[in-house]
Every structure is written in structure tokens, then in C-alpha cells.
Subunit: 151 residues, 2 copies
DNA sequence: CTCATTATCTGCGCCGCGCAGGTAATCACT
DNA sequence: AGTGATTACCTGCGCGGCGCAGATAATGAG
């Protein structure tokens, strides 16, 4: 499965390239990706998704909001919360980067049968689940050998 | 294929977690991963692989060398070059993180047939190739809309 | 009304990174 | 061999994202 690792490493580099073409950080971009597909979320949830602290998330939202990529909205049910909402109009600026990917990949995926594609999806789901277990496991590890208690 | 994106995002987060457990940056870790599997490489090559500039690579090697993860070696054929070499003895410190992954994934992969696994590998190879095309395409894009000439 | 908890924001310092310039080795050409 | 261009890496500098700790506001429990 080292072939998958290569794909991953490549994806990281590609994300980085796109990020500074757009003028954002990879984290910001990943966050935008989630918002554009997943609908409005709270700031805290974004922190969980990206693995950032609350402070870092606040700053990230500041940046994205400053550039009009997202909007802060109050949650009527809990006024402590801040709902972050993607501004669809800005999606056009990301289009040149991600648009062709969608089209190109559709075309490329066409070489596989429905059955095979379903198998891939299942495979990825399993991998996601596996990844989650790994995350939990790693979180519990003793941390760095350098002096410094725990988290 | 959004399911794959989720896996990717997750992998990024996981990398980050491991990185600061070990006390390194994700870049450093990715670099180590490559060195441990791919053998000695030049500093410049590492820059290409990680997408970093020469200065950043130098600093990265400094960090890794300072913590005895790698060693600088002169290239006898071209004394300008610096070969970076992984120190296998340090691999044990990474074992707790990556070791169980290898075992766990083997076990998990066992549920698929040889044929299916071959199909996955082919799929990833194709994806890698596709990713390379995307990288080239994106590199050629007009860059950020904010004022700032070009690269 | 008071205390604890939750969700987000702010001040501070660290550190990785790009950029621009520097040094040393190598190559191309005469 | 000598001269200039190129290549490969290193160094000084400033920017910006991030974690940490504490502040603020809203909610819930009694």
C-alpha cells in the first residue's frame, strides 16, 4: 500500500500549491472544502475536523471572513455558538482549481464499472474507519520523548 | 469520490498529530518517511518531493540532523551535493506510531482478494498519474488575484 | 442568584517557511 | 588553463499560522 502513501504525499504537495495560488493556507483551504460541501458548521466543529485549537480556528475564520469566503452567523438556539457559512459566490474563484478536477476525474472514473466503483467507495469507507482507529490509538501514545508532560 | 477526500483530510490530521507527538513538523515527518523507504537522497531532491524551497530544506535537514534522525554525507562525485541519509537506529522511535499501522492494515487488507488488491493498486497508480497532471495544470494557473506580479 | 461549564475570542511567543543574497563546486567554451 | 555561467546548498531576515493561557459571554444546575 505504499502506492497509496505516494498519492497522499502528492495530494499534500498539491494542496500546498493550490493554497498559495489562492492566497490561503492549506488548513484554510481544507476548511473551505468542508464548508462548501457540508453546509454551515460551528467554529468548534471546524476545530475538531482540522485538528486545530479554538484560538487557531478563530484566526482562520477571521482570515476567511476578511476575504469574504465565509460569513459568521449567530446560532439562534445557542448564542455562544458561531455558525460559519460558506459564501457560494466566491466558489467561482476556486473553480479554476477544482472544477477541472471534477470533470477530469469523472472522465477517468468512467473506465471502471459500477461494481468496481462501489468497491472503491467501500474500500475508502473502511479505510476511513481504520484511520479513525489509528487516530485514537496514536492520541493515546506517550507523546514526545523530550521533557514535557502530557496533553 | 468525496469519500476519498475525507480519507485524505483525515490523513492530514493524523500526520499532524503524529508529528507533534514525535516533536517534528509534518514536512519533516513526510521527509523521514521517504528517506526511510527510499534510501539516501540529495537535499535538492527532497525539496522537489516536499515542494519546499532550498532554504527550507536546509533548515529541515538541520532539525533532523540535530535530533540524529539523519546524517549529512558528501557526494564523492559532486562535492556540491549533500546526500541525506536516514539513521536506522532511530527508526525504533517511530515504530510505536507506524508499526501497528502496517500490521493492522495487513490484517484489514486480507479481506480482499488478490485480484481486488491489484485493482486498487492500479487505481492508485492511475490516480497518481492523474494527480501529476493536475499539479502541472495548477502550477500554470494565473496565481492569486491579489496584487503581486508572478512567480 | 450563584457557581460551574461551554463556546468563542484575544495577547503572547515560537517556529517553519519563502525570499533574496552568499559561497563553493562544476560545466561550457575558448 | 582561464573566465563566466550554472548548479547546489547555506544564511539573514521578516511574515504568518499555530498552541497556550487567560478573558468574555452565554447557558445550565441548584
Amino acid at each position: 500500500m505504499t502506492s497509496l502513501q505516494r498519492v497522499h504525499g502528492q495530494a499534500v504537495v498539491l494542496s500546498q500549491i493550490i493554497a498559495d495560488k489562492v492566497g490561503l493556507s492549506p488548513s484554510d483551504l481544507e476548511c473551505l472544502g468542508f464548508l462548501s460541501h457540508g453546509g454551515p458548521v460551528t467554529a468548534g466543529r471546524l476545530g475538531e475536523l482540522t485538528g486545530l485549537t479554538s484560538g487557531a480556528v478563530t484566526r482562520m475564520i477571521d482570515r476567511l471572513e476578511g476575504r469574504k469566503y465565509v460569513r459568521r452567523r449567530a446560532d439562534p438556539n445557542d448564542r455562544r455558538r458561531v455558525m460559519v457559512e460558506f459564501i457560494p459566490a466566491r466558489a467561482k474563484e476556486l473553480e479554476p482549481f477544482y472544477g477541472p478536477m471534477g470533470n477530469g476525474s469523472d472522465e477517468w472514473l468512467a473506465q471502471y464499472t459500477e461494481k468496481e466503483l462501489a468497491l472503491f467507495v467501500e474500500f475508502f469507507s473502511g479505510m476511513f474507519e481504520w484511520g479513525r482507529e489509528q487516530t485514537v490509538r496514536v492520541q493515546a501514545l506517550p507523546a514526545k520523548p523530550k521533557r514535557k508532560k502530557k496533553a
